[in-house]
Amino acid sequence: MIPRALGKRIMGIKFEMLSPDEVRRMSAIKVITADTYDDDGFPIEMGLMDSHMGVIEPGLRCKTCGGRVDDCPGHFGHIDLAMPVIHVGYVKDIKRLLQSTCRECGRLLMTKDQIDEAQRLRREMDELGGDTTDFDMLTKRTAKDASLKTICPYCGAEQMKITLDKPSTFRENGHKLTPKEVRERLERISGPNPKTSMVNPQEDLEIMGINPQVARPEWMVLTALPVPPVTVRPSITLESGDRSEDDLTHKLVDVLRINQRLRENRDAGAPQLIVEDLWELLQYHVTTYFDNQTSGIPPARHRSGRPLKTLVQRLKGKEGRFRSNLSGKRVNFSARTVISPDPWLSINEVGIPVEAARELTIPIRVTAANLDYVKALVKRGTEPVDEDGNYLPGVNYVIRGDGRRIKMTTKNAEATSEILEIGQIVERQLLDGDIVLFNRQPSLHRMSMMAHRVRIMRHKTFRFNLCVCPPYNADFDGDEMNLHVLQGLEAIAEGEILMLVQENILSPRFGGPVMGAIHDHVTGIFMLTYRDPKFTREQAMEIVNRLGTGIVLPKPKTIDGKEYFSGKALFSLALPDDLTISYKASICEKCDSCKKEDCKYDAWVKIEDGELLMGTMDAKGIGAFKGKILDKIARDKGTTAAREFLEVATKLSIGAIMVRGFTTSIDDEDIPLQARKDIKKMLDDAISDVEKKVRAYNEGKLDQMPGRSMEETLEVEVMKILGKARDETGKKAGEYLGIENSAVVMARSGARGSMMNLSQMAGCIGQQAVRGERLKRGYDDRTLPHFAPGDKGAAAKGFVTACYKSGLSPTEYFFHSMGGREGLVDTAVRTSRSGYMQRRLINALEDLRVMPDGTVRNTAGTIIQFKFGEDGIDPTRSIQGKAVDLDDILTDVLGEEPEPGDDDREIIGYGEQEHDTEIEPDEAIEVEEEGGGGDYEGGGSGGGEG
């Protein structure tokens, strides 16, 4: 066993600057030649791959520490630069220093009083515990004050204007300053003063935010360059035997070559021009060695044209060291494949292909109690099957006491099982009932990763119950999901108790169920219960048969000598015996006064003692996000009862939908010719109304609305007329779309689609809009060249009179696309923005926790909230976010129903978008918003998970 880490704490991290001395001191070797390997493939002495800097080939030994590949961590080398170059990372600081110090004597351009004042501010801030940003601001302010001086208050020298020519050229009144000159000036700050032949005070640096003990300004101009160990930039040997060097090595080769040429030319007394050119080239290479995305210079490229990944690129961004390697880790014991549905599985289960189960293992420690069992397991080898050829778990590895792993093969299985000892660890393949974590990206809430029980199955996909689609937001158009096998007993126990699917039926997001029936499950349960249909014995058996054995059919009723089974009675099989609840179903027409028991739409649901007495089951009863019955069972009877209810109800639902049969097609939106004519009439009337308004506007006779301009008044009036027309056509079309219509069944029961969708298919699509206004952009004064300039009529500004079924005219089609485009852009913008917001929130909140005393604290024990959420209520156990459900308690205690709450908050159902359920305010501009609509979501993007 690996010993636990020592109990040490990091008290702080200090950042210092590397001095050239330090670079040379920590260097194991001075690198002078740009060559890497000799013809035999050995590292060249004093070359970039010198063995003093560590080894990457097995067998060789490090010349510094003598370690082999795995022991030697690598050592730094260094390059002595022929001429100094500026470090790109410090240009801003160099600029600040140059501007705020004297060009001749090196003193900070501040009078004694100013210095005292700055020091006082600094001290004060220190005492009050200012953080780094406070100090940064103060430093910047002082630097600005100092740089405004034109004459040095100490030596009286006139100061010139220092500008920075990005990325790293400094100019004084337009004349170039070489890095050497820059360095000399930086040395003078707090260094020897040429005018007074004294040393400038150290305080100058402190005022400028530099601690002279650990960072001297002149170190910002490099004279020696550290060369990272070879282990940091290993070369790869390709199959062809060619060596391929790391990008950093490539860059260092460039630096060395130019450095060498620069030195030779300078020593040979070459013309100043040539030396300067080479010097600049060296500056370029060193700059790109640090950051290859420095603005103002072209990035250094590989021969293939790919930009090199240099130091900054290794660290920065999503693929950088921090986010990709330190915040994000890769794991073993995981699997990923395509998902598909399986209604026969429990919601707690996940189907795993045999191929995956053979690779995924759980470690078990051999004890006296399980020795015989484990021996038998090991003996089976790696791919055991029973006599029918069914999967049996085998063993992939045995880990001996000394930590050596023995890979199991068919050959050594028998022998290894014989020498198995107590204390060894055996890595057993997955077994039905094991606990695994199942996950789908993007993992936006905690229900995106839940624990399932394993079911090993044929075929190559992961399978799960359809009720679990909503929390994962999964569908089966090519989605893939990940699976992780828990390795420790504690992890398994925690997973089972906290993360199992049934434990997550209620969501902390809104205090209701996130799982539940979707699509056909809802349609099916509707067809089973709406107006209590009658089923023959055969049909009833058909419906009930998938529940398995032990089902007692309800008592049949006899009418006209024929016996039949009531759909509501069949549904009641799923209900717990003592459940009592009543509520309004999804199909509720929202009458002005609710007649409750006498509801003529069968929308008043009443369940007493586990018996559905009246009302229809639909999304409001068992649907995901909405299911009231599911919610109540989960709360009152526990998660197991909720799981059982959901499983039984959905099975009954499938039975019902299969007995009755269900289909929908485009002719579900057929309406009679007369209705079409009526709709056309309505639209024509509306359009002529609009024309009247437009005319009135043109003549200036429009009654101006308070607070609105004439144009705005017209727009509002027109939108009102057209919105009303759209609604009326919808209503008209709706008259012919009765509950016997499949599409209507789906919309009303809450299975899929809305009446709005249907009225757009059968009636009229309505006004298209961009940014909540009628379409207006395109050509001068008109949307398309098909219209007269300045036309403010309905058709010219994006009112679509057609329905989806009849098809759109070319101009309408174009307008519709404009509206649709806005929806797409909005979703794209929304996802990226909300993703970033979530990242910041997570980073801010990740280590907060609720303590046993109810306070919320961070890792330092500082109190963030004195009571979690101010009320100490676990949102999972809240009722739609409220701590207590008084109505429910009253019903329980008094045994009578309270008045149905009119303030029930509607929760958006599965696959619905916010705007589908939005109740539009009367005066609001009513427009169709397609959005990234549920209907098209991920439709064609097979394999897409995003």
């Binding site: 604290r857 330092a860 109190i863 004195f866």
Partner: protein
């Protein structure tokens, strides 16, 4: 500008200074030291208002903030006064 007492505004929760005894009891109740409390600066308008009202408030003292909470009715928090 009319000067007014911020504490009288309906959106500003009530702030009261704890006596040393009360402060100690509170710290004991939560099992914490002063530095684990949320902070409030002396130049915070509410503290300034308290000082104007004649309270002598120095760094290290604790104020009790009682605010109306949508979910809990009334919620109480404590803050440690720190220098600006």
């Amino acid at each position: 500008m009319v000067e007014f007492n911020v504490l009288e505004h309906e959106l500003v929760p009530s702030h009261e200074l704890l006596t040393p005894k009360e402060a100690e009891a509170m710290l004991k109740r939560y099992g914490i030291t002063k530095d684990q409390l949320p902070k409030i600066r002396v130049n915070d308008p509410c503290i300034a208002a308290l000082i104007d009202a004649g309270k002598d408030i120095k760094e290290g003292q604790i104020v009790k903030i009682t605010r109306a909470s949508e979910v809990a009715g009334v919620s109480v928090a404590y803050r440690l006064v720190v220098t600006a």
